[in-house]
């Protein structure tokens, strides 16, 4: 029997290798063409359907008595308020492949402790930050960014074990109570200086982290997971600021046969990766990596690795979910306006999946945004802010600038340098070239069509580059012509004129200088009829204008001009004539003063939020405005569509706010938003909110923002500050007024 087994072992190995290859190919095949962003599915867990008050009341019953009773009550209310806020933020994924896999790892980790397993709820958060956190109630949240960086399943298990320790040891509530003691100078800290108490706060938090590291390791030891892999988890944390892979960036990525970027914009050597693990952590909630490693070092060294594995659930599944996480990260970087990181992440992934449409769009969107930002100064110059009659205000203009390449470490530095070196015209040309080629490969994709249109427009309007500025003949063709002519000159005995010499000289200079690479960028593309037509269409009626010099105005002149503009635009954007609006869940926060400290009035905030929704509905009905809402306060377990919709809109809103006033740069005007517009029959999205504090100059801050989700434009942005209480009648009058201007048509 044994012999038979021995004989068949090579065959088994061969079969296993074959199976692995097949699985690997299947995983790769899944991403070859395209990728769809993650969505939640199934039914909503019961925790998502409870208000913070209900969640808290369950716990408040068990607080008991003692000196820290009030602190514990406050902690319960605050943690449940923020937990509920996070659960319904739209950033948490439910029943998606990542959550399912992570929960399988948790099952493996807590196989021996089913009681504890029942108390632990693990979710994935759509965030590119390399982070994880836990609530004492048993909720553990892992960011997508963390999954994208992990090397193996054992590392994931260790991260989970660390977070589970925080839950089991109730670190959050202990930290909260300790912080209150420290702030009040009570308990053992009585009489201590403010500085000493402040440092003690961080020390306490660091002690908790060390405890979680050590206890986490003990938990890993009880499983079959590799213990040595734990060290790798610390590497993940140490180098978390770097992209998930380090791949040398080649300029050929942007090039084609004719568009050749000059070597001068390629950084010869990149900065070495320093990643100091012994940084000053005195004012950090987490100890530095060196301290964390040393706290478990002895135990790691003594650990018996025999029979332990890096993967207990599935290696293939781990690699698949990591790949998904990396795809997600590309998009999340875009939402965070971290364009170069998004571009680099997509570049890494494109090496594996060169035909993936999603990745090509990430690159195109990133290039577009960087390009637009570079020419933004020109576009916004000479514009003044004004306040119109309807109290319309402007969101702050947030211009994107490429991060300083000096501060970037590793292989991605080359990309930062390259993008930094290209000027607005060059970048626009490169972006258009890349995007147009992507469009030709995927001619039906509306996003690529829209982006190429915008880049053509940008080329003509912002950078004043017209079809005539680009050569139709390649360098080689011109060179050949030049050679012929030079030969002709040499062959003839006639004296070369001064002007032909100049022309020849100019031609040669033109060919040999790298600075003029844009001239030949579209040689290939100008052979394409569609490219020529669309470029001509963008340039139609446009003439080259002399660049205006920026006027230097005195303070008085500037003020006078602003007043003049304000007068002219008094009624601009006052009446919008909108007939239907989709309302996002409103924001409401009430604070109260407890022992001189401003604290959130958790329950009342939640109740007021529900009331504000009612006010919105009432005012909309009164004005005959079509009212739709994405209300997560009244979700039922089968409302997954509404939950996903809220998630899409939250993403959109996050990106919108990241852009400030720069509407041209919105990139998430994607298919899902279009579907949403079709589904609800409106392209207008409104968000309202009230912040009410007990004391202070602006006791009430009310805001109302109306977006056009298709164009990304802010149609109305209104803020009001009052010193009075947030009575229902006052808030009603604010909401009604905001909606009045939304509904009324200009001619009424």
């Amino acid at each position: 029997m044994k012999i038979a087994l021995k004989r068949s072992l090579p065959q088994v190995k061969f079969l296993l290798a074959g199976a692995f290859l097949v699985l690997h190919t299947l995983v790769a095949a899944q991403f070859t063409k395209d990728y769809s962003p993650l969505k939640s599915s199934g039914t909503l867990p019961s925790e998502f359907l409870k208000t913070a008050r209900i969640l808290s009341e369950e716990e408040l019953k068990n607080v008991g008595y003692g000196t820290d009773r009030i602190a514990k009550q406050q902690f319960i209310m605050s943690s449940n308020y923020f937990l509920r806020d996070l659960l319904l933020s739209g950033d948490v994924l439910i029943n998606d492949p990542l959550s399912k896999y992570v929960n399988k790892v948790a099952d493996e980790l807590l196989k021996e402790d089913p009681g504890l397993r029942k108390e632990i709820h693990i979710y994935i958060v759509k965030s590119a930050d390399v982070n994880a956190h836990a609530f004492d109630r048993g909720f553990i949240f892992l960011n997508v960014g963390l999954l994208a960086q992990l090397e193996n399943e054992a590392q994931l298990a260790y991260v989970l074990a660390h977070e589970i320790t925080h839950v089991v040891k109730k670190h959050s509530v202990n930290q909260y109570i300790e912080n209150i003691r420290l702030e009040n100078g009570t308990s053992s800290y009585e009489g201590g200086s403010y500085e000493a108490r402040d440092l003690a706060k961080y020390r306490f938090s660091q002690e908790n982290e060390i405890e979680a590291d050590q206890e986490g390791l003990h938990r890993i030891k009880q499983t079959g997971y590799s213990i040595k892999a734990v060290n790798g988890a610390f590497d993940v944390l140490q180098y978390s600021y770097l992209p998930f892979e380090l791949v040398e960036f080649k300029k050929s990525f942007f090039e084609d046969e004719h568009l050749i970027l000059p070597d001068t914009i390629v950084l010869k050597t990149t900065s070495e990766i320093k990643a100091n693990d012994d940084y000053d952590d005195t004012k950090s909630t987490h100890p530095n990596i060196r301290k964390r490693r040393s706290a478990v070092e002895a135990e790691l060294a003594a650990a018996d690795e025999t029979g332990r594995k890096k993967y207990l659930v599935s290696e293939e599944e781990f690699k698949k979910i990591r790949e998904i996480a990396r795809f997600e990260c590309c998009r999340l970087y875009l939402v965070d306006r971290d364009y170069v990181n998004a571009l680099y992440a997509a570049y890494i992934m494109l090496e594996k999946y060169p035909e993936n449409l999603y990745l090509q769009k990430i690159v195109a969107k990133s290039l577009y945004n960087i390009s637009v930002s570079k020419s933004a100064r020109r576009r916004y110059r000479g514009k003044y802010e004004y306040n119109s009659y309807s109290n319309n205000a402007r969101l702050s203009a947030r211009t994107y600038t490429i991060p300083d390449y000096d501060k970037i470490e590793g292989a991605s530095q080359r990309l930062y340098y390259l993008l930094d070196q290209l000027d607005a015209k060059e970048l626009n040309t490169v972006a258009l070239s890349y995007t147009y080629r992507a469009h030709k490969r995927n001619p039906e994709d509306p996003v690529l069509i829209a982006l190429t249109d915008s880049l053509f427009s940008e080329l003509v309007n912002a950078n004043q580059l017209y079809p005539g500025d680009f050569s139709k003949a390649s360098k080689a063709q011109i060179k050949a012509l030049d050679t012929v002519r030079v030969n002709e000159v040499i062959d003839t005995t006639a004296e070369e004129s001064k002007y032909s010499k100049i022309k020849r000289q100019q031609k040669k200079t033109e060919i040999t200088t790298d600075e003029n690479f844009t001239k030949y960028a579209f040689v290939g593309l100008l052979q394409d009829d569609e490219f020529v037509d669309r470029f001509a269409k963008a340039a139609k009626g446009m003439t080259r204008q002399e660049e205006k010099k920026e006027e230097v105005l005195t303070y008085k002149e500037r003020k006078r001009r602003e007043e003049q503009l304000a007068k002219e635009n008094r009624y601009k954007g006052v009446f919008l004539g909108v007939d239907k609006v989709l309302f996002l869940e409103p924001f409401y926060m009430k604070t109260k003063r407890v022992d001189g400290t401003e604290m959130i009035n958790y329950f009342e905030s939640e109740e007021k939020q529900i009331k504000l929704q009612g006010i919105q509905r009432k005012c909309a009905e009164k004005l005959g405005l079509g009212y739709e809402t994405v209300n997560t306060k009244t979700l039922s377990s089968s409302d997954m569509d509404r939950y996903n919709l809220n998630s899409i809109l939250t993403d959109w809103l996050t990106e919108r706010f990241n852009h400030g006033d720069n509407v041209d740069e919105m990139v998430l005007g994607n298919d899902e938003i279009k579907k949403l517009v079709e589904q609800y029959g409106t392209r207008y999205l409104a968000w309202t909110g009230v912040y009410n504090e007990k004391k202070g100059r602006g006791r009430n801050t009310y805001f109302f923002i109306l977006f056009d989700v298709e164009s990304g434009e802010v149609m109305k942005y209104e803020t009001r500050y009052t010193r009075s209480r947030d009575n229902t009648d006052l808030i009603t009058s604010f909401v009604y007024n905001s909606l009045l201007y939304v509904v009324k048509k200009a001619e009424e």
Binding site: D729, T732, Y736
Partner: protein
């Protein structure tokens, strides 16, 4: 009276003409209400009742004309007892009742951040007053105990004008009803040239003394409803 009504109608038309895209409260800009105000009696009152404040009843109509401004029209009625010196009696006094109807037009300006008719406001007001006294006949006794002279009873009217400034708060309850409270201070001048005999001359003098020199200081509470 007709001319006063004409003035009122003129201002109403002006308000309607000046109608703009103003929100009012939930689209309602026209408020009808009642208010009662009390002002202290300080000068020239009946000695025994000098502490009793004067009650004024008013019917109010207001119309939101701009985002935080509204026109206010009021019809006020008040009644107070005055002590009039009887001529030829060496200072002997008699109680008479001075009643008046005031026609008021004013403008309320609410805080900049709020929308009329809601919130804290300041209010300027112009008033036209129409007052009257119905006095009884009186026989002035002579030193010997007989009748020196006889004053017949009668009715006399007095006109006046004035202005006031007040501050207050208006709240809206259940999207329908208004609750208004505040304080006001002002002045009033009574014309007094229409008397026919000394008895009436004394009445005019007393009324002018009471009204002109006692500042209009009052506190008011009002209720109303948002009509349309």
């Amino acid at each position: 009276m007709r001319s006063r009504l004409a003035i009122l109608i003129f201002f109403c038309s002006l308000a309607a003409y000046g109608q703009q895209q103003v929100p009012g409260y939930m689209g309602k800009r026209f408020t009808v209400g009642y208010s009662a105000s009390v002002s202290p009696n300080l000068i020239g009152q009946v000695q025994n009742n000098s502490g009793i404040p004067v009650l004024t009843n008013a019917l109010n109509v207001s119309y939101v004309r701009k985002k935080n401004k509204e026109w206010c029209f009021s019809l006020r009625y008040s009644s107070r007892t005055i002590l009039t010196v009887i001529p030829e009696t060496a200072g002997k006094t008699v109680e008479d009742k001075y009643q008046s109807v005031d026609y008021c037009i004013g403008s309320r300006r609410y805080n900049k951040s709020k929308f009329a008719p809601l919130g804290n406001y300041g209010k300027w007001e112009f008033m036209l007053s129409s007052g009257w006294v119905n006095y009884e006949s009186y026989q002035a006794p002579s030193a010997s105990g007989g009748t020196l002279s006889t004053y017949s009873g009668g009715h006399m009217t007095m006109d006046g004008w004035g202005g006031s400034y007040g501050r207050g708060v208006q709240r809206i309850i259940d999207d329908k009803f208004t609750l208004d409270f505040g304080i006001r201070a002002g002045f009033m001048f009574i014309r007094g040239d229409g008397y026919v005999n000394q008895r009436e001359a004394n009445i005019v003098s007393t009324v002018r003394h009471v009204i002109n020199w006692s500042p209009i200081v009052n506190a008011h509470v009002g209720v109303g409803f948002l009509a349309f």
